[in-house]
Amino acid sequence: MATDALTIENLTVRYPMRGGVLGRVQHFFTAVEDFSFSLKTGEILAVVGESGCGKSTLAQALVGLAPWTKGEMTLLGQAYNPASRKDLTLIRRQMQMVFQDPFSSLNPRQTVSEILMYPLLARGFSRIESTQKIKETLSLVGLSTEALSRFPHAFSGGQRQRIGIARSLVLSPKVLICDEVTSALDVSVQAQVIQVLDEIRRQAGISLIFISHDMQVVRALADNVIVMYLGQIQEKGSVSQVLSSPKHPYTKALIKSIPTLDREHPPEILEGDWASQGIPQTGCRFAPRCPQKTSLCTEGVIPLEMVDSVLCRCILNRST
């Protein structure tokens, strides 16, 4: 068994909600709750879910861009406390993130070479070393060195995203978090970027956390998948198992809602959204929208349970 590149225990992210005249904290919004997973070396772990379910918050919390309220992190066998500034700099040496939007995540007033050079210089590399490293990374993501002297606006969305990937890769991280990297791109360009990511995994031995709402991309790329709803893990297992025989009603609904080219079988739309329902205080969080809801679903705390080597948070699987 391969060693774990990253282990997260009970990660919770809470945002204080301020209000009133004095801006006091009135209550907390929990974006990610009791999130635990481990990432093996060289593995691609996908996190899927609807918009607003906490996927991006999870990604940002891992690199310290969102408040880390609770939880432990073990990165490459070393325990860190991401709430401390000192540990955060160490974590960021091993773990980097690629941003969702390739248009706003590159500074419009810096050339590609500047964008890639600054992080290296800040890390203490010399200019010559940096240039060498930049050239290697550019060829890894499939861009020519001509790109270096240009500004980001001269590139297409897919090329920009590859620049973004290159920027995360120049510091040679061991874990790369991809936050919806393909969602802003055309389908044909998505394929290029996915190919690049797969290439990186094989060549550089990097583990990937791939956050997406696109089931097709996840099926094509990932090894394991976490299905997330309102900050909680609903189902977790290998891609083949979870996507072909989903256990959780939410996963089923997500898979059914994928648009297909087959007009005979239109996608089934999952009714409602979490915002209009509010977050249930007890029981299953998905219960208000669940088509298979029973009276037991809204009571107590429902734990993650192992069902056929897949972890699932649903009481409906207990009887079967």
Partner: protein, 341 residues
């Protein structure tokens, strides 16, 4: 450093605005020309041939004894020209009048109306108005430029830090600025001027202490907006320092209000120096200044050439600067920026 396409586009848009572009050319050329005024608008000859030797009195200091005088002081070259019995030949500057010296060769009491030797006449002390206007322009614009640059730097720094840090610091500073900006500026100038005396540097410092406020509001807003941009977050995640984030990531994208406000702040600087001089709280007399000329014009209404030429000069300068400001503002307008052509 390479200039980004966005900046180039802005320059192209500015150039397309003929009025603004030519205003900029005229103002820059006029200012550069006025910088030579200590030599070209003066009563010392540029070149003088005296008994077979070349002298350059406009650029170097010679004592009277060299030309057969008694004292070690600088000679009055105009007098020298007529009085000395020697082989003498000179090239005088284009406007051969010192802004500080009265023309004593004219008969009667000043102010003298425009004539061939004094194109715009003289002021109430017999000093050439054209010469004083040119020297005044140089001093006034230099003053305003220094003031604007200093105020802009302060505005960027204070507004930027406010916006960059945000939270309590921002609120605290904002209240502080409100208190500071409610201080009556004129009284502070009079007060400090009467304690420490009036000098070019002191006046700039006092005025810059109030000048940065309006820009800091814009900078604060820009920094608040830009600090949550993904590229800034990305840079912070990549381990770059706060200084890098401030100066390299955010500041180059936050320069629009700086550039847009620059010409208008310049106008404000000219206006406030002129009005302070007019009230007599500005630069120490006899420094050539437009405000002082205007107050002379007011005291000698029977000599309209004083106020007419001064007001015209001020009007044209402010108009040119306003045209530039207008052009810059239009070129910086983000709504016209993203259009495909």
């Amino acid at each position: 450093m390479r200039i980004s396409q966005e900046t180039k586009n802005k320059w192209i848009r500015f150039r397309k605005n003929k009025r603004a572009f030519y205003s900029l050319v005229i103002l820059v050329v006029a200012y550069l020309a006025s910088l030579t005024s200590p030599w070209t608008v003066n009563d010392k000859p540029l070149v003088m041939l005296f008994n077979g030797n070349f002298y350059f009195p406009a650029f170097f200091h010679y004592s009277e004894t060299e030309f057969g005088g008694v004292y070690n002081t600088e000679p009055d070259y105009k007098k020298l020209l007529y009085s000395v019995d020697a082989d003498i030949w000179v090239i005088m500057p284009p406007i051969p009048h010192d802004p500080l010296k009265a023309d004593l060769s004219l008969e009667g009491t000043p102010p003298f109306p425009p004539s061939a030797s004094h194109l715009l006449g003289t002021d109430a002390n017999g000093r050439d108005i054209l010469s004083r206007l040119i020297h005044g322009f140089r001093i006034c614009l230099s003053f305003s430029l220094c003031l604007t640059v200093l105020g802009t730097l302060l505005g960027i720094l204070i507004g930027g830090i406010q916006g960059y840090l945000g939270r309590y610091f921002d609120t605290l500073f904002q209240r502080g600025i409100e208190i500071w900006s409610s201080l009556p500026f004129l009284y502070v100038v009079i007060l400090i001027g009467s304690i420490y005396g009036r000098s070019f540097l002191l006046l700039i410092l006092i005025m810059a202490a109030f000048n940065w406020i309006s820009l800091s509001y814009y900078m604060r807003a820009e920094f608040l907006k830009l600090r949550s941009m993904p590229y800034v977050k990305a840079a912070s995640m990549l381990g770059l320092s706060h200084r890098h984030l401030f100066f390299k990531e955010i500041l180059p994208n936050a320069l629009t209000p700086v550039v847009t406000l620059f010409p208008f702040t310049l106008i404000g600087g000219i206006g406030s120096l002129t009005s302070l001089d007019f009230l007599g709280f500005g630069l120490q007399p006899p420094t050539p200044s437009w405000g002082e000329l205007m107050s002379q014009g007011l005291n000698h209404l029977y000599a309209p050439w004083i106020s007419i030429s001064t007001v015209a000069a001020l009007f044209i300068t402010l108009l040119l600067a306003t045209f530039i400001g207008e052009g810059v503002r239009d070129a910086m307008d983000p709504k016209s920026g993203d259009r495909y052509e």
